[in-house]
Amino acid sequence: MSPTTAGPAASPGGASSGAGGAGAGLADLADLANLYQGVRSKFPAGSITPVPADAGFDQPTWIVERDVLAELARELRDNRETRFDLLMDLAGVDFPDRQERFEAVYHLYSVPRNARLRLKVPVAESDPVLPSLVPVWNAANWAEREVFDMFGLRFTGHPNLSRILCHEAFQGHPLRKDYDAARRWILTEDKIYKPHFDLPGGFQAGQAGGPGQGHEIPESGDDDLFERMTINIGPSHPAMHGTFRLMAVLDGETIIASDVEIGYLHRCFEKMCETHTWQQVIPYTDRLNYCSSFINNVAYCRTVEKLLSIEAPPCAVWARTILSEFSRIMDHCVCNGTTLVDAGGLTNFWYMFQPREEIYGLLEACCGARLTVSYCRIGGLSQELPPDFMARCRRLLEIIPPFVSDVEKLCDHNRIWLDRAVGVAAISGAEAVNWGWTGPCLRASGVPFDVRRAQPYDLYDTVDWDVPVLYGGDIYDRYRIRNLEIRQSLKIIRQLLDRGMPEGPFIVDDPHVALPPKEKAYNEMEAMIYHFKLIMDGIQVPEGELYLPTEGANGELGFYILSDGTAKPYRIKVRPPCFPIMSTFSKLIRGGSVSDAVISLGGLNVVAGELER
């Protein structure tokens, strides 16, 4: 009667020691020079240049010539020594002063080896073409489209190289440095996104394109044309959890092909970061995954702190860990609540949203806002914890579990929900990794990858908790794993509360990073000068680049940050966890019905603010 077991997973970090010197993830840089010699020796000399270990990079970095990129990617994925099977992120960078102006930066991760590798491919502006890596990693599909959209790099062999975040009528490539951030375009309806259906019958040849034409009967195709129908769901549709446009080709009630158009909520977060100071980016990060905005704050601030080589004081780290876990609970509550609403279980929505409401009360007592918290600062927190913080947390620990167990009692063994969810939109672990999945959705497919365990940060390595894993890979297990993770988060919080609040300041005492205390700024000349200087000039972050992963509520949230030593970021690339997950959506819903597609979307926990940035 008991469902699939959720045993604690072995740490991937502890299990791997095969790759020479690379088993410890970000740590071992000393062996960088002879790292993966076996892979490198298969390619012509000079085509792969490892960056020397003392160059100050956070992870092994290779500069790769584009001719060998496709071969190298396949080799890195398949070689037993490396097994880089997860393409975490693909970022474009623009250096107008360089001869080879653009750089495509691939961040690879190896789940069995718990190792990371960064590939940098320089590309000249005159010939901005790269080989597409979609045959190697499916995750490259949307990632390459994004780089094409933002930088104008082209990828040969890509199945559908079109704009993804900007409108089709947009001109130019917004993340190029010579693109004015204030520039506006009038978007007309004559150029809109042409959906790409991978149907065998050549269906996408010129239909289902124009405004209001989504339902047109295709001109070519096989005989039973009249059985087929193309429908639009969204962009503005309550089932779409935001503004996505799903175009589905139906055969009867079965979706035989579909395509997703995103970008309705694109607000060019990354370009805006480049025009603001490091500190001013924090309110922007709130709006990425707005269900758990505090985690975004933490992820960003941690990355900048690492680049600055400072550490937040113990009190701030302690509070960050607790509030991150509360935010994770909140996010999981929202996801499960809305998924069950999509399946018709409105009661669960009420039950799940009550803990969320209470957690919002805690966050508001800490920082003054419920949704967009902006509580973190680079170097700590914006203000000290409220006096009743412990009491409030304790109260939450009592309030939350009954609601979760109520939902479990309602749904876990409820045949109505089981029939809707078990086996629907299933994906195996191997496929999910290839599509770039991380987070609870990946763990529901049987892969025990969690950044908090693989590369522990904050206080996660000092508390006792498990990584729940389920093996169904379907909506039901994605729902179950979130409930299990809520309990693990509560366990983490309880241990940290028992440990007691560390004494000390809530932000670093460094006038180059954090504003001096107000009392000093009012009364002391030196503090006043630092206060003015920090606000007028901003934090001067030393030159360098860094990719730092954080476990967001729905997967690995990574910030890839480049600094040129000034007060403003040179480039910030966010690795939103739901971007690769959403790119799988068309594949997941193929063969199911429209109602299955709706609950699939809910179970994936796709948050538009983070997906489209």
């Binding site: 010699q37 037993r80 039950y351 409220p386 009692k409 109505i416 497919s445 890979g473 297990d477």
Partner: protein, 246 residues
């Protein structure tokens, strides 16, 4: 070029290539667990029926939610005792604002000690993201935030709020205040918590003293009776053998 040290066959496949979906039991097929679910909803129904006060929902305009005194709401420009604006038009808030929603025009103040004051101080409430950076930036405590969150306007012109309107809500009513550099009410709570903690510590110390005194008297009584075994008894007592001074 077989430099790979790991034998390919030795390692099992790291990920499941198939899915193992959940199997329904007989009871589940018979919809039996639904009875438990019905009890859950019944419990919630009865609780909400008999304890409506425990429900989280509020009927908003009539009933208002209690936010903390850190709430980041509508801005307030504070004033000097004579009622003039405290702002000295240093532009730090406008500089710190990530949304670029603060517009200031400065002029010379008649008082030479103050130098400048804002002729125009406008906040575009549609642009504002209520992050509180202006409050952090202000070196004069001239801009703080209030608890007021219902900002509704009839047209867009009204959303650009000027100096007069920003100064109006400031009434020294602590209920109205929100995010600001100092929280006197919090200080009171902290002081109370400190007093309680001190009194707890005091009580603990007094109890320990009494205990040690009792033990010491017991020890002296036993040592008076039998002299040799006295030192181990004294060392075995949990508190330090020498009684702390009063």
């Amino acid at each position: 070029m077989n430099t790979s040290p790991v034998p390919p066959a030795a390692e099992p496949d790291p990920y499941p290539t198939t899915t193992r979906p959940y199997r329904q039991s007989v009871a589940e097929r018979l919809y039996l667990p639904l009875v438990g679910g019905l009890l859950v909803t019944l419990r919630h129904f009865l609780r909400n029926l008999f304890h409506p006060g425990r429900m989280l929902t509020i009927e908003y305009p009539e009933e208002r939610r209690n936010y903390s005194h850190r709430f980041r709401g509508h801005h307030i420009l504070t004033t000097r005792p004579d009622g003039s604006v405290r702002c000295v038009a240093c532009f730090l808030c406008a500089q710190a604002c990530p949304a670029e929603c603060i517009h200031i025009e400065a002029a010379e103040h008649p008082d030479v000690n103050i130098e400048k004051y804002p002729v125009v101080y406008e906040i575009d409430m549609l642009r504002c993201v209520f992050c509180g950076y202006c409050v952090d930036a202000c070196p004069e405590e001239a801009i703080i935030m209030s608890n007021n969150y219902d900002m509704a306007y009839f047209n867009r012109d009204q959303t650009i709020v000027g100096k007069a309107d920003l100064m109006k809500p400031f009434t020294f009513d602590e209920e109205l205040l929100g995010y600001r550099p100092r929280y006197p009410e919090e200080e009171a709570v902290r002081a109370k918590m400190r007093r309680e903690a001190f009194s707890l510590v005091d009580a603990a110390r007094r109890a320990r003293q009494e205990q040690t005194a009792e033990e010491l008297s017991a020890v002296s009584a036993t040592s008076a009776a039998t002299a040799p075994p006295a030192p181990p008894t004294a060392a075995g007592s949990p508190a330090s053998p020498s009684a702390p001074p009063s």
